[in-house]
């Protein structure tokens, strides 16, 4: 009897995320069925896909070597993208402060809180390109639409982070400053800002780096920047120039990320 128990004991099992085997296996089977169904329901032209692989090789062959001969156009587009990103990050940083404060449940009155949160959710839901189309319609083609698009998305992003940061603050300091009879502005300046500032700056720097990445794409719908040049080169089958643009973007993003990591490392 006791022997049997000892034999049972050392039986080793991996710890599973979902303990119940029926649910676990059920989920796996459901996943497989879903994949089969979804691949079937998309009308996929398999012949066209097979044709795609040699075509991919052809495109790749035409991409090399990258053509940097039109570097003036490239430089102008990149510069415009960077300027759009800088301007949008700056505007976003400023606009996010009131929005973030209004979106913090512990310091804003309920109706204002709800309004601010609705704004944040609305602008977060729609992809930059959808927003860009509307700004292009309103402000015409060009970098204005791009700057405004990126401003909207940076504002909501930074504001969301700021609001969450304020909500997670310790109530002690808030009560301490309030009990001195501080006005609302003094309260913001001496209680909220010292606690929220490091993370706010970190998020803003991160957003600058994200804006550089996004500024390369709003141009596709005509909102300025390098994206416009890139889309044009693609539609003209100018793949070697596209490759030059892509390489430049990758380098730029890499540098931007490096800079952003460096600054955020120093802020901590």
């Amino acid at each position: 009897m006791s022997d049997n128990q000892q034999l049972d004991m050392p039986q080793w099992h991996r710890i599973r995320l979902i303990g119940n085997p029926v649910i676990r296996q059920g989920l796996i089977i459901a996943g497989i069925i879903y994949l089969l169904w979804s691949v079937n329901s998309l009308d996929i032209d398999w012949a066209r896909i097979r044709e795609g692989f040699p075509r991919a090789a052809g495109i790749l062959a035409r991409m090399f070597p990258p053509d940097f001969s039109r570097w003036q156009l490239l430089l102008k587009g990149i510069l415009e993208s960077v300027q759009m990103a800088l301007a949008a990050s700056f505007l976003g940083m400023i606009l996010a402060v009131p929005l973030g404060i209004c979106g913090a449940r512990n310091i804003a009155p309920a109706p204002i809180y709800l309004m601010a949160r609705t704004c944040i959710i609305l602008s977060r839901t729609f992809h930059e390109i959808i927003v860009a189309i509307f700004f292009v319609k309103i402000f015409g083609f060009g970098p204005v639409a791009g700057v405004l698009t990126l401003t909207v998305s940076s504002t909501s992003f930074i504001a969301k982070m700021l609001a969450e940061d304020i909500e997670n603050m310790r109530p002690g300091q808030i009560e301490a400053i309030r009990s001195t009879g501080a006005s609302f502005l003094q309260f913001l300046n001496y209680c909220i800002s010292p606690q929220a500032m490091p993370r706010y700056l970190g998020v803003s720097i991160y957003r600058l780096d994200a804006n550089v990445r996004h500024s390369t794409v709003v141009g596709i719908v005509g909102a300025g920047g390098i994206g416009q040049v890139l889309a044009a080169s693609f539609s003209r089958y100018d793949y070697d120039f596209s490759m030059a643009i892509l390489l430049t973007i990758v380098t730029l993003v890499f540098l931007g990320e490096f800079f952003s990591n460096w600054v955020r490392g120093r802020l901590r």
Binding site: Y34, V39, L42, R55, Q83, H127, I129, F139, Y190
Partner: protein
């Protein structure tokens, strides 16, 4: 007397920053404002567009209201396609991103060269936007959902790979050593020592990325890569603003639901 009083007063008043700190702070402010103004002034902004912007905006709102609900029946299929693109794309991502993540993590990579290759794949994948990947894959596979799926997958590899690689670098080395001590092979160490430790991170990032991918796949149609974006783009080009507003409503609903599901699942995992 009054003179002394005022100096005492100056001492009493508490300040958050010393004069030196204040000076540095203002220097930073001026620097930032200068950069922003330089950027804005260098963009050739057509200010006259601002004159009638409010009229244009009002015109747009009037034309968009009310949403054309009769159009809803045509939206269902592309909507399902959008979700499929995001889901299949995410599934492919998992298959490709995991090996790359192990290459790009310092403690599991084979040698510095493979580490560098892994890192380059991640950076390259992340630097190029989904829509730009879409442009490329539409050129390769022709317009349709397949191009969208690959676009989603290629952009997500960098995102997932980076987060998983960071998780691998932060694992508890003790478990790995314990398994190595039993004489396990390299693969067995990966499978039993490292993978179980990073599994929650993998599940979390998969669900998180899926929710981002739903949002991204709504616009892939703009470059012809399938999904609801194709209809949205054609409605916009035909100025059928009431169809546009309904499509936007639907997109809003789907994105909100996927965000809710993803947040819920991630909370359960952690």
């Amino acid at each position: 007397m009054t003179d002394r009083n005022s100096t005492v007063k100056d001492d009493i008043i508490w300040r958050r920053f010393s004069p030196r700190e204040t000076l540095i702070r203002y220097a930073w402010y001026i620097c930032i404002v200068f950069i922003a103004v330089w950027s804005l002034s260098n963009l050739d902004i057509a200010w006259f567009y601002f004159l009638d912007a409010h009229i244009q905006a009002k015109d747009l709102v009037v034309r968009m209201w009310p949403p054309d609900f009769a159009y809803a029946s045509e939206l269902i299929r592309p909507l399902i396609e959008t979700i499929h693109i995001a889901t299949i794309g995410t599934a492919i991502t998992v298959i490709i991103a995991l090996p790359v993540a192990f290459l790009a993590a310092r403690n599991t990579t084979i040698n510095p060269a493979t580490w560098f290759i892994g890192r380059m794949i991640l950076v390259g994948s992340r630097s190029v936007n989904t829509v730009v990947w879409g442009l490329l894959f539409v050129a390769i596979f022709g317009p349709g959902p397949v191009a969208g799926i690959w676009a989603i997958a290629f952009r997500s590899i960098g995102f997932m790979g980076k987060l998983v690689a960071e998780a691998i670098e932060e694992i508890d080395q003790g478990a790995v050593e314990a398994i190595e001590a039993t004489g396990a092979s390299r693969l067995q160490v990966l499978w039993f020592g490292i993978l179980p430790q990073v599994l929650p991170v993998i599940y979390g990032t998969v669900v998180y990325r899926w929710d981002i991918n739903i949002r991204e796949s709504t616009v892939l149609g703009f470059v012809g890569a399938g999904g609801i974006g194709i209809l949205l783009y054609s409605s916009i080009n035909q100025f059928l603003w009431r169809e546009v507003s309904l499509t936007l409503l639907v997109v809003f609903g789907v994105v909100l639901i996927s965000e809710y599901i993803s947040a819920e699942v991630r909370q359960r995992i952690s």
